[in-house]
Amino acid sequence: MTTTTGAMLPEAAYGPQEGAVKLTMLLGGVVFLLMMIFGLIMRAAQGGMIAVDPALFYQIMTAHGAGMVGTAGLTGAAILWYFTGRHVPLLAGVYWAFLGLFLLGVVCILAAIFLGGYAGAWTFLYPLPALSGGLWGPGASVLFLLGYVSIGVGFLLLHLEVMRRLMARYGGIGGALAWPLAFGKGRPEDAPPPAVVAAMASSVFNTLGIVVGAAVLVASIVNLLVPGFAVDALLAKNMIFFFGHVFINASIYMAVIAVYEILPEYLGKPWKTTRIFAIAWTVVLVFVLAVYPHHLLQDVPMPGWALAMGQIVSYFSGIPLIAVTAFSLIVYLRAADMRWDMAAALLVLGVAGWSVGSVPAILDGMIVVNKVMHNTQWVPGHFHIYLLLGEVAMAFGFMAWLVRRPLAADARPGAARLSGLDHGVFMAYVAGGAGFVLMFLVSGALSVPRRWAVHVPDWFLQDRLATLFAAMVIGAALIIVLRYTAVLARRAE
């Protein structure tokens, strides 16, 4: 066993939680599909192809946002748990508590939206939950926020267990982040494997995000129940976007662990923790926490330095990301005889989508651009790139890997290629996804506003094309999820 890949425990050592992770991915896949259908309904409604009452549209938009962010977090956490379990023993009960609290939160959120009528978007931005104009009562908002609290508590437990074990094993937070290698005399042979570094970094910032999120959630709940406790709107927005930004980023950074752990099987060589890698992840840790003001560039009362910091950090945040993962992946891919299958293809697509998505994100993070673009469909355009073609692709890749065929049959390097059906499904996912996000970006460039339930006919073309592309993505995703389910069911017999 080489020290660079870390001490891999035998599969049996983390076996007890493999079932839980597989169940999570099944739930995640089904919810992803459902939320994609919600997305398709919204685009079709905007394109004038179907009639959706605007009140229902915003309920669907809220469910789509909360559902997608939550499921991205859920699948990311499942990946984090699964691969952290290869390096340190983890307490199975914590994962079940996490899953239980998550499902409880989902029930609260769905009830708040579709029974209580809550439609204040996943960002619960103050004062919208309190001032619904009579569309929903404070009870629905409180239930929605309590759902978030439940999910947050689950994530907190999960991250605490992961951090605790990694700290004990690798020598504190610094040891698990490979600081001796990054900033000291440590040797690469002694550094923890990439999955450990990524697991520790994402757990650290997600824990901070959740603690801040819990405070603003409770403050919002108090405000809803006793309106006399006015919330400072700007402070609340800062806290909400810190929490939201960190949470959605954490979902991607957790999912990347699947790339570090799975792709070496296909590349035939381990993914190494280098000094650059270690430095980059520490920088990512700081940047994820510091970059959130780029969501508040239109808030005039924000202090200038905070906005400047948001723009500057957002310029540079692409660099460590691309350096640590995308660039290394390209180097590895060029040097290796890659044995492609669905899992490998989707994971590489995930890295590509994540990297490409950062480009329009950095553009939107520039103050001059932001003033014009931030309320257009440019914004859903950029985040759908690194979610649909990034995080979700990685999650689907992980699912495909969980039900992969043994590689032994295709042992000859370079022999395996994507088979006919796989090839078609993968291409449909890529083409549908690319076309879908392109329609958002084109609409954004044409100043089509985002979050409008009703569009004018001039905007119908992109909306209708996007609906078509969405149908392609859903078709491909359906096959991926169905095949995952079928293989799991067959193996369970």
Partner: protein, 189 residues
């Protein structure tokens, strides 16, 4: 061994009693200095033998005792009564050492590390919520204190949260000590 700790605890309680007028004149020193002093005194008390029994497995019973006692002293009306009612004042000087400090000391070392981490995160979030409540309340929460003091107390809660966050996170960063055994362990496995 026990005598110095006992005298230190007694000294802390005596100090909290002797200086109670100036300490209780300002809610910031009342809540954030006097009450923690009393709890600290309780934590220094020599623990009774037998607290390691089965009933305190995992430290749950003791930690829950401390949580409920703290919840009682988080009620604004308890603080008001502690200033105006001698009986409640006396119960403050008894309950904070015996029902907060001592149980925490008896329960905390036996608590699962995950529970400890969760409680720390919970404490930080709760202090943040208290900071919000006390800086934004539309009315005076304590009749014994001015509205402006209430806002200062809210700011004090925030400062406490930040200080605790630094205090709890800083030791985790250091790789020294734990790093060497970790390496050895890894090469063996």
């Amino acid at each position: 061994m026990t005598l110095p700790r006992l005298s230190l605890a007694a000294a802390l309680i005596a100090a909290a009693w002797v200086f109670r007028a100036p300490l209780e004149a300002d809610p910031v020193t009342h809540i954030l200095v006097q009450l923690p002093l009393l709890a600290l005194a309780g934590a220094l008390l020599p623990g009774a033998r037998g607290t390691g029994g089965a009933w305190n497995r995992g430290g749950w019973a003791m930690i829950l005792t401390a949580i409920f006692a703290m919840a009682f002293w988080m009620l604004p009306r308890s603080i008001d009564a502690a200033v105006s009612d001698p009986a409640v004042a006396a119960s403050k000087f008894l309950s904070l050492p015996l029902l907060v400090g001592l149980p925490l000391r008896l329960g905390w070392p036996r608590a699962h590390p995950l529970l400890r981490g969760f409680l720390k995160a919970q404490a930080l979030a709760m202090l943040g919520v208290l900071a919000f409540l006390y800086t934004h309340a539309p009315v005076r929460l304590c009749n014994a204190y001015l509205a402006e003091d209430q806002v200062r107390l809210g700011t004090g809660f925030l400062a406490t949260a930040l200080a605790l966050a630094v205090l709890w996170v800083a030791p985790l960063l250091g790789a020294q000590g734990a790093a060497a055994p970790a390496r050895r362990h890894r090469s063996v496995s």
